[in-house]
Homo-oligomer: 322 residues x 2
């Protein structure tokens, strides 16, 4: 692939784009089989719809339950796509992911462990078993930019890093969204008939809740950050922010509970205003909402005594913590 | 000492209180010598003035430079008291403190190391050399409450913990402010002729900037948190908050600098509205000030890529992080 021609959201003709990409997918796959992984985010949801337009039942869509997703996510997303006529198969990969993550604290090593488990252990095996030679994937231009710049290794960018997925994993990757940024994908997802809860959904990182745990990832910590995430999504969804999240820190701070010292954990909240994720500013969340959020979290989430709100702009901050 | 009779700020007759306490100090010390350590906070400043009223030159006041103070603090405070007619001797204790703190990460162990270095190594020696048998100290009622409750071990509360300072350190402790809370001490400090920058000064913890570093304390980390503290005090002093601070975390987060990934540190800001430190609420700092503060910190403070603002009420949070 040479340099990528960006298509700005304002210039995106969704009908023409859908027809063109469906044709390209159809031409590439021929009468073979393709496979894709749906996470429920807007990118992979748009790719799933686009792929099913192009290939119908010859696209096999899997939802990999890696154990580091939001509460009830696999079942909810499968049900939603069922109503759109798309069958999604849920695969339980929890053991493989937690065992790969065990003891890792470096963010890049954690991302790498998730990538390897996803593509090699789980997806590689799936593709071999299915006979599919093609993997459809929701890489967008911002992922490519950030990987090339060395800011963050996205889980789905291989070519730019000089990795041949066919050689490494046994299949070819098709990335129909790679000319778009997030705002373009949202417009496309709406045109593809996805409901607003998907096309306006805040981005969720590739490494999912594992990206929201500082230090080593365990099932307990994922459970803590999952509960905090539910609360944050409930309290902040009405603000129309680009993305919002809860991050569990490893550092501990002093709190007090029932009049006694309680040395506990801290949850960091982030909520971003952004158009396309390249630059972002912390949303001016009303203080009454922040107080309420903090109270709910310290009351509900085991071991948490303190809640902060990130007030740094991107750059130099990133949207995710790791 | 039995139970302590609290004197509320609203009930405090400062003239009567000053006369009564000066008399008590004078009676206790007789024609001997007393000694006290001035940190520049409102409590130790009020005690210094009260002690000099009672004892004149027979109170020796020292400022221990422990290396974990604000920028330029020792010289500034000595100069301020000079103008009030009180001679303050600065003692360089930096080596002793950093060597005692080396490698300690547990908050209680850090506090204990600072206490031991202060009272035993530095003050114990000073008292012996001076022949003084009495130490004047600015313990207030909130310190006693929190120590008894086991929330936080204050550096200056011995009797409540069953420690006899005469036996342990070779001197007796006089605590003239122990019936007051912070608001009462401020009223007293004003009545004692201290300038507003002292009587309205935000509280500063006993372990100073070492309480603002999560994990092991080093000179480099103290320098980082000292620079951040200067910026925070500049930007927040006009808000009239009870206390405000910068805390350096040990956890690292991903940022970007010059288009490249920068895995760096996070500074947590806290700014409290409170009457007497028993309960506190995060000040509703205008977002434009928070953005400006975050920008100044990530631009100026080496290695810092991210800034958060604490939004948890006390309780269950504490005002300080460790």
């Amino acid at each position: 692939m040479g340099s990528i021609n960006e298509i700005k959201a304002s210039e995106l003709n969704t009908d023409a784009f859908i027809n063109e990409k469906a044709q390209e997918i159809s031409d590439a796959v021929g009468d073979g089989l393709a496979i894709n992984a749906l996470s429920g985010g807007v990118d992979s949801s748009a790719v799933t719809m686009l792929g099913h337009r192009a290939l119908g039942d010859r696209l096999k869509t899997y939802f990999i339950d890696n154990g580091i997703m939001r509460e009830g996510e696999p079942q909810r997303i499968a049900e939603l796509f069922k109503q759109l006529g798309v069958h999604v198969e849920i695969l339980d990969g929890r053991k493989a992911f937690f065992s790969a993550l065990k003891g890792l604290t470096d963010p890049e090593e954690k991302r790498e462990a998730i990538t390897q488990t996803f593509y090699k252990d789980i997806f590689g095996k799936l593709v071999k078993d299915s006979g599919a030679k093609y993997l459809l994937q929701g890489t967008i231009l911002t992922d490519v930019d950030e990987t090339i710049a060395g800011i963050k290794r996205q889980h789905n960018v291989f070519e730019q890093l000089g990795i041949d997925p066919e050689q490494a994993f046994g299949y070819q990757i098709i990335e129909p969204l790679v000319q778009l940024r997030k705002d373009g994908v949202r417009k496309l997802a709406e045109a593809l008939g996805l409901p607003e809860e998907i096309y306006n959904r805040p981005p969720f990182p590739g490494p999912a809740l594992a990206a929201r745990v500082i230090g080593a990832v365990t099932e307990d910590k994922i459970s803590v950050v999952r509960t905090a995430t539910s609360i944050v999504e409930e309290e902040l969804s009405s603000l129309g922010a680009f993305q919002y999240m809860a991050i569990l820190h490893e550092d501990r701070v002093t709190g007090m509970r029932d009049g006694k010292r309680d040395f506990g954990s801290q949850i960091e909240l982030r909520c971003w205003d952004s158009i396309d994720a390249r630059e972002a500013k912390p949303t001016q969340v009303p203080y009454e909402i922040l107080y309420k959020l903090a109270n709910r979290i310290v009351d509900t989430v085991p071991g948490v005594v303190s809640v902060t709100y990130n007030v740094t702009c991107k750059p130099p901050s990133c949207m995710e913590a790791i």
